[in-house]
Amino acid sequence: MNWKLCVVVILATATLLMADGPKGTEPRPAATGYPAHTEINGVAVGALLLTADQARRHFVSDVNRCCLVVEVAFYPAKDKPLNVSLNDFVLRVKDSDIAAKPSSAKVIAASLQKKARSDRDVTVYPSYGVTYQSGRTYDPVTGTTQGSGVTQTTGVMVGIGNPGPNPASTDKDRSAMEAELSEKGLPEGTASAPVAGYVYFPISSKKKNAVHQLEYKLGEEKVVLALP
């Protein structure tokens, strides 16, 4: 039985190793491949603000409900490793006081779960009825008698609530969303090769014509990228 146990341990270890930490996304060949890009002190930076449609295609989690997603790529200088930290990012809405620092995958996932839980399904049912009445009846309210005829009624019924839990609202969903956001997120730490990943900013994207700019503190320098 021992060798069987060994097989199990090896398989379990392999699974754990394959499921380790954030990985980010695959960086494009060069920073110029991103709509917004710059180079400073030998470090090239590229960024892309995902549209709502792009976010829907790239994520199973409904990130559009809580935040803006920016794909960021760093291309460090040769033999000069770069320390990537989410704390050094700020996303601003141009010509306004709105600015935000990135949120962690855990916070975003919890926020999405909370929003999904609070969702209420409101269903409106139209109703229409036709009644045929024969013979004469006395109406005590009006004091008149009514003959045979057709009565038509119309109305609307409103139903609120779901029969079961809302989609993506369970604790398992939160864990899955956290895993997705974390694994696709920009890897933090020292990077000696190009790295890329998504950064999540808790800003509502309701303003259609708002212009956003991404700021990143690169050592003593500040990189500002206008996101188209």
Partner: protein, 210 residues
């Protein structure tokens, strides 16, 4: 002698179980689903779709899914046993493993033996707390693996219902480059996957072409 006879009789009956499992797995999956085409390389998320309950409940075959028949067959195996296998987990032996006289009877060593699904029948059936993965694959007989465990062939797994979570999906067929994707499943959500495997070109074949 009577006990030995009974035991051999039982082993004979039990040896049909893996064959039964292969059949059961083949018929367990819903066949009415139609996977819509997505772009070849994209992983798209469709809007949440609440399927009709009547059909799905039928597919599910009740809350314990395909375990019902397991229980019956497990019962034949002298209670050695029915185990509620809710996988995926790398069990050292299948759920029907048992130990007459302290020996491990390995006839039930699927999926390590033969092309039997690692997942219990009904594992991919609809559940209200599950999410849907709609898989389209070319070739249709490609083998599908979830978290490195064999799940079945693509033509039998068009509609996979999974617990919310992150999974490694692989689709492989001989003579083709394998398809790998990390997928994330959320309850009540539907995910379309189109895995079109590219045929491998052998160096000799490439040379022969003009």
């Amino acid at each position: 002698m009577r006990i030995l006879g009974f035991l051999f009789g039982f082993l004979f009956l039990a040896s049909f179980l893996p064959a039964y499992r292969a059949t059961a797995q083949g018929t367990q999956q819903p066949t009415a689903s139609v996977a819509t085409q997505a772009s070849p390389t994209s992983q798209t998320q469709a809007s949440a779709q609440e399927p009709s309950n009547s059909k799905k409940e039928k597919d599910d075959g009740s809350s314990d899914g395909g375990h019902k028949l397991h229980l019956r067959l497990g019962g034949i195996s002298l209670g050695a046993g029915y185990a509620h296998f809710s996988g995926p987990a790398f069990y050292p032996y299948g759920p029907y493993d048992f130990y007459p006289l302290g020996w491990d009877y390995s006839a039930f060593w699927y999926p390590y033996w033969g092309p039997y699904s690692f997942f219990a029948p009904g594992y991919f059936a609809y559940g209200s707390a599950k999410g849907e993965v709609r898989l389209t694959a070319q070739p249709k007989t490609a083998e599908v693996y979830l978290d490195q465990a064999y799940a079945g062939t693509a033509d039998k797994l068009k509609d996979i219902w999974l617990e919310p979570g992150a999974y490694d999906l692989s689709v492989a067929a001989s003579g083709h480059q394998a398809y790998h994707r990390r997928i994330y499943v959320l309850s009540g959500r539907s995910l379309k996957i189109n895995a079109t495997l590219v045929a491998e070109v052998k160096p000799g074949e490439a040379k022969d072409k003009p």
